[in-house]
Amino acid sequence: MSGAQGSSRGAQRLGEVVDRNRTITFTFNGKKYKGLEGDTIISALTANGVKIVSRSWKYHRRRGVMSGNYHDPNCHFQVNDEPNVRGAHRRLEEGMVVSTQNVSPSLKFDIGAVNQKLSRFLTAGFYYKTFIKPERLWPTYEKVLQRFAGGGKVAATGHHVPADKRYAHPDVLVAGGGPSGMSAALSAADAGSNVLLVEEEYELGGFLRWGTADELAVAQSLREKVAAHPKITTLTNAVVAGRYDQNWVSVIERGLPVVMESLIKVRTATLVAAPGLIERPYVFEGNDLPGVMLSTAVLRLVNLYAVKPGERAVVFTGNDSGIAAAEALRGIGVDVVQVVDARHGGGLVRATSSRGVLSGVELSDGSKVLCDLLVVAAGWTAPTTLLNLSGNHPVFDEAGARFVPGPDLDDTVFATGGLVGDGTIDEILAHGAAVGRQASERATNGSVTTVAPAFSPDPHLPLFFGTTKGIVDFSEDVSSKDLLTAAHEGYNSVELLKRYTTATMGPAQGKLETINTVAVLASANGESIEETGTTVWRPPYVPITLGALAGRSYEPVRYSPMQAWHESHGGINIVAGQWMRPEHYGDAAKEVSTVRSGVGIIDVTPLGKFELKGTDVTKLLNLVYVNKWSKLEVGAVRYGVMCGEDGVIFDDGVTGHLSEDRYFMSTTSSGAAGVYAHLESWLQTGFPEWDVTITNVTSAYASINIAGPQSRELLSKLVSDVDLSNEAFPYMNLRTGTIAGVPGCHMWRIGFTGELSFEIHVPAGFGAYVWETLMEHGADFGITPFGLEAQRIMRLEKGHFIVGQDTDGVTQGFSAGIDWLIKLDKDDFIGKPELQWQHDSGAGFRLVGIHPNDPKQVPTEASQIVIDGIIQGRITSSRFSPTLNRSICLGLVVPALAVAGTVVPIRLPNGTIIQGTVMEHHASYDHEGAKLRG
């Protein structure tokens, strides 16, 4: 392994987080290594002297630790079956299998590295300018480009272990558990608010954790206070990932047992953003060599993990963080050969390499210094993401050389800590405390009286890029040269530049690279950074697994109370909207013939069922149905069709008159929810003065249709309090009575199949019992249960259309063959004007019965009727009818073809044309309805 030597773990550090007594074994690219408990993958690799940890995306340049935090673009690994693991954040686990992504064949020898040699030709956006001709070769070029796709691998099989989500409703949510965040949490909690404190790292403390003894002591005392406070809930290794409208906030908890991450959805009264600062890289030649690290990466490695990141260090700094890093390095025994302080005129020209790793630096005074570690401290980026997502526009702070929150902050969102300014620990704590109090005030009584002390960035040198060119976006391999070229070409606004070069589009989403991108662009345009402006930060703050976002599926399936019976009696399920129901019990054709000759029962529980009560129900019915309802006697039922205001059919069903002011409405299964909302909408928004109450009783009743010539005989065995004779209980009537000892059952003499039939609605709890009793008593008649398929065949034989199958999104009333039903002489009803106009114009397709001339041919549903190359209609339903022993269809055709006897060409999916004849009736079976009325 390149650069691997013995352990470079130094002496005990004060803030060390590793447990030296617990060793963990893991492999990296197949080789075994040892680390300590508490190590991250990166600290362990560094401790083992591994310097080159990855290859870059485009040029396959060798890369080492750079920012040393979660966002480090160089530290993405495949860990077991998980791609893109953040190695500078993820802790080691025993037996972890870690490997480099995106190399071939190996990290050491990576063939893609030839791209480095070609880099002058592969400038950003080069692919837009080439591979243009010949067109047919682009797919081949594309395959080659795809080989450079970054990232790890996902397996083709494997299951999604549902990670349960939860909700939280704190008064104050604090994002970031550094000193300002802890201070804000404590003061908000002291003011009486319930606080949720979320910290991305494994421990509270923020930058204090890699600080001095004093800083460590402050962190410890704050941690203790937070832990002891009853009103603060703390989550570590968790991150506030997004802020959405009205403080709807996503929090990701990581490192859970079994599932990797889970989502907490937080509605918080106020949000305090205290994410601290992110150190920004500095752009110069060689800035991506392994061995060039940001000062905070060094501070972490040394002070948290007691790891020596090198032997001979040069520090280039524009602030105190570089000085602190130098001190830490000396403390662990690294030879700090030179500190180049930009504040005192020091400058960095380039880093040089030997065997792909850093070997020295060239300074602006012309000197060259040998080193294997270059520490860079060029300044800070304030991660304003959460504020941005709250509608805030960051502004450039010239003095502090960074973008800071703008003045237009939402009044339920607050910011503190490094995001806002620099200061001593006391100043930070004071600001945090004041902001915490403000957040609590806003959360509880609404008005903010606390005044936060002034707090702003300290002056900082504008160190973005040096005199030589280097990498700006490490994850995308975009150099400052790429940016300058693109800007000069005309991609000269931040938005165009970012899209053209892909700078800031990679996994770090601009946290490390945006400011340098903007700075380079500003220089190309000869503008200030402020004029150039910054890009919009988009959620999430850090990437979230699909698994956490998905959680557990809450899309329930509905079953009738008889489902268990169906399943244990050979019922084969079909998904029907929300419902699962039997399609058939083995042989649909046989089910049909049994029903036609004897009796069968079907579970129709999914039908929508509503009880309508009140003195104005008929008004409602007259409004929503196209037909008339005023004269419906008690005990009678009627078929109705509902259209929308555009005259398009949207549901049909039967409604019965139970008693004086009670009605029972049934709708299609899939239309139930829509019809309910539709009725309520008209009642509440159109006619609030009407006295109608609607109760959805869809699942209060189990519904069974008993169909077949022997259905009356069967039902009479179980009913004694209702006279079922044709005279006493004719077709299109309903009665309420007792079935098999179950009182309160509705019995309707209707059916979709065309046979004598009774649709019964039984209190749901007795559904299974009544079903079984029917089956038992029906045994003598050779009863069969039948499923959806048999019903579909029989309804087609009978010529009943199905809304949504034989009609579509533009089928108006007069297209469906229900001219007899539509009563244009009614005062008003929904869709009436459109139906009137359709009636007058005769426009629109017409639904007709069609018999293929070859009775054996069943044209696939949706087969087109094409004449002279123009579509003139289509088959909407087709089946082989076991009753007629021939194929039968319904179809929508242009009016000219809707004449009985017309022969139409039907184009089958394979292109064959067959002939069909338009029939006089939709029904192919008993079109007079003698059977129904029997």
Binding site: Q246, W248, E645, E680, Q684, P688, K832
Partner: protein
């Protein structure tokens, strides 16, 4: 997730509601012209700014309500119940 203050239920996530859109007066069906009717069917103001619209608390009290919402910020500055009490509860 915007928060909609239901006059019956208090503030609830918008995922509990069905959006019905801009309020629109239904023309008199007896006298309406095609142009007027299709204007009613298809034309909306679609403003950038405050709009008055109907929402249906479909996974809640099942009441329709009228809200004033800003189409840029999604801020809701008022909601009121529609019509009378009564109906399903």
């Amino acid at each position: 997730m915007i928060l909609i203050p239901c006059p019956n239920c208090g503030p609830r996530n918008s995922s509990e509601f069905t959006y019905e859109g801009e309020n629109k007066e239904r023309p008199n069906a007896a006298t309406v012209t095609k142009a007027q009717w299709r204007n009613y069917l298809y034309l909306k103001n679609n403003p950038l700014g405050w709009t008055t619209e109907t929402w249906y608390h479909s996974s809640g009290c099942k009441k329709f309500l009228v809200a004033e919402r800003h189409t840029m910020t999604n801020e809701i500055r008022s909601t009121k119940a529609l019509g009378q009490q009564g109906g399903a509860s």
